[in-house]
């Protein structure tokens, strides 16, 4: 493994990359920050921060409806940001990219809009046992409202979807399937291409929750052939308050608007309203312009590094950390799928995750503890929560060494 280590690491100039992220030089509790909470939100490169800064200092105006220069310039820039996202996902059209305020908003938009015409009492919706609350609650709520049934794809102890069981869940009442690309708690990479193919063979559309996938892997929505794909900017090294709903043109044209207001219309009278074309139909009100611009800057940034290199390096970090953690007495990794990204959840026998997280924090190490907004998954594993370390491409093996060393000290203190 040492050999692999050196060879892949050489692909990235981690020193230079780390210098792009101002927060990484911060001290916490007197210690150098080690940020392993990337699954919750990622840090921002200076190019993203500068793009936002420049927007507010030099370009700020409202878009789409202004004839003046500032407004036109920023309209073009905002639409270019949409195109950047389109290209990054390899979507067919720019107007298939709908800006939202985040993954949660994207799922809510879709569930609400989809349900209006397509869900009747007795219909069925399929999600999985490893979904984030944001991909459970909107469907659960609409099932309650519409008297529809929520069905759950079970998982194995390793944390992998059981595809055979999934196929059995599908019926002629199944109207939509919503699964996560990558589990935020377990790190599992799901075989979504297979899931989509199975669903399409029965004419069922599929939404993929890509919140945890876009920071780690390249996504090609045409190759996947998914009907919808959602993610957040802030987990992709971009700004807070911005997200994306990708939808196939055919679907987006068919679905009714969700939020309505300024920008979503062609004509309004008090009697009747004619809605605008895609994507404006789904983008009510003044958008988060700085968010769109910043997200495009984030995508440009990761593309200059290259997602393939990022994935290879992160895989190395995953193996390295897994290896070291497994050697710790009483430590159990939750989520041991064959296909994983650099997210490791674990528990230590007899100790509470909160205690471990608190003490790690004292030593400058930021991990997440708790249920990670996946309570049903915690119920499945019979734990109140886990400790989760999630690595980005700016993390290093030295940081992992420090983390493992500190973790052992912390465990000793608590025992």
């Amino acid at each position: 493994m040492t050999e692999l280590k050196t060879s892949t690491s050489l692909l990235l100039n981690i020193e230079a990359i780390r210098a792009d992220f101002p927060i990484l030089s911060r001290k916490v509790n007197g210690k150098q920050l080690i940020y392993f909470d990337n699954g919750a939100t990622a840090q921002k490169p200076v190019s993203v921060i500068d793009a936002i800064d420049t927007y507010y200092k030099n370009q700020n105006a409202n878009i789409h409806r202004g004839v003046h220069t500032l407004s036109q310039e920023i309209t073009v820039a905002y639409e270019n940001a949409r195109t950047t996202i389109q290209k990054h996902l390899n979507a067919k059209h720019a107007h298939e990219i709908v800006f939202t305020s985040g993954t949660t908003a994207s799922v809510n938009l879709l569930a609400s809009s989809f349900a209006k015409k397509n869900i009747q009492a007795g219909d069925e919706i399929i999600i999985s046992a490893m979904e984030h609350h944001s991909n459970i609650l909107p469907w659960q709520q609409l099932c309650e409202e519409k008297d529809a049934l929520l069905k759950i794809i079970p998982i194995s102890k390793e944390g992998e979807l059981i595809i055979d069981e999934f196929e059995k869940l599908i019926s002629n009442k199944t109207k939509i399937i919503a699964v996560t690309h990558i589990s935020n708690t377990l790190g599992t990479i799901n075989p979504i291409k297979k899931i989509i193919a199975i669903a399409h063979s029965k004419n069922i559309p599929v939404m993929i929750d890509g919140a945890q996938a876009v920071p780690h892997t390249a996504v090609d929505v045409q190759e996947l052939d998914c009907d919808f794909y959602v993610f957040s900017g802030h987990k992709l090294f971009g700004p807070t308050g911005v997200g994306v709903l990708y939808g196939k043109e055919k679907w987006l044209n068919e679905l009714p608007p969700y939020q309505v207001g300024g920008g979503t219309i062609k004509t309004v009278t008090f009697e009747k309203t004619e809605y605008a074309d895609l994507p404006l139909k789904f983008e009510a009100g003044t958008p988060h312009i700085a968010g769109g611009i910043g997200l495009a800057a984030a995508i440009d940034y990761i593309n200059t590094i290259g997602l393939e290199k990022i994935a290879a390096y992160e895989h190395e970090l995953l193996l390295y950390a897994t290896d070291a953690l497994q050697k710790i007495d009483g430590l159990k990794i939750i989520g041991t799928a064959k296909n994983k990204v650099s997210v490791i959840s674990f528990i230590v026998e007899g100790l509470h995750p909160f205690d471990i997280g608190t003490l790690l924090d004292q030593m400058g190490i930021a991990v997440r503890t708790g249920h990670h907004c996946t309570q049903p998954l915690m119920q499945f594993y019979g734990v109140p929560g886990t400790i989760r370390a999630s690595f980005a491409f700016y993390n290093t093996k030295q940081e992992i060494d420090e983390f493992v060393k500190t973790l052992m000290r912390v465990i000793n203190m608590l025992k």
Binding site: I63, H64, R65, V67, T69, Q72, T75, V76, E79, K266
Partner: protein, 139 residues
């Protein structure tokens, strides 16, 4: 003159102006002297709606060549329509379909070409070309 020759003529014309204010003055003059659409042709189906101004665009085939007439409620838009008509009118459908319209870029009108631009110069060109395609298909 070929479409390209007219385009070049316009580019030269616009290069003479010192600033955009003068160019707009020219556009306004062009707008005022444009071959106007007949009232009876100002129907809903000839209407190209922008967010800010609207254009009525009518085309006829005369001796194998398309003749465009148009109107707009805004005079600057009308000036742009006039430019487009000067370039494309009286050419064959195929010539119109093949036209590159580089002059738009050259005279700096591109900023009016952004997808969301209110006057919809883009929709106008699209409509003119669509008409040409329709005539080409018929012949």
């Amino acid at each position: 003159m070929t479409i390209e020759e007219i385009e070049n003529e316009i580019v030269e014309e616009f290069e003479m102006f010192e600033d955009w204010m003068q160019r707009y003055e020219h556009l306004i003059d062009l707008g005022k002297s444009m071959p106007m659409i007949e009232e009876k042709n100002k129907t809903e189906d000839k209407l190209i709606k922008g967010c800010q101004s609207q254009v009525w665009m009518h085309s006829e085939l005369k001796d194998g060549k398309i003749v465009y007439t148009a109107d707009s409620d805004a005079i600057i838009t009308k000036g742009m329509v006039a430019l487009m008509i000067r370039v494309l009118s009286n050419h064959t459908p195929q010539e119109i379909i093949d036209s590159k319209l580089d002059f738009i870029e050259k005279i700096g009108l591109t900023k009016h070409l952004s997808p969301t631009r209110s006057n919809g110069l883009l929709s106008m060109i699209k409509q003119m070309k669509l008409d040409a395609i329709a005539y080409a298909a018929k012949s």
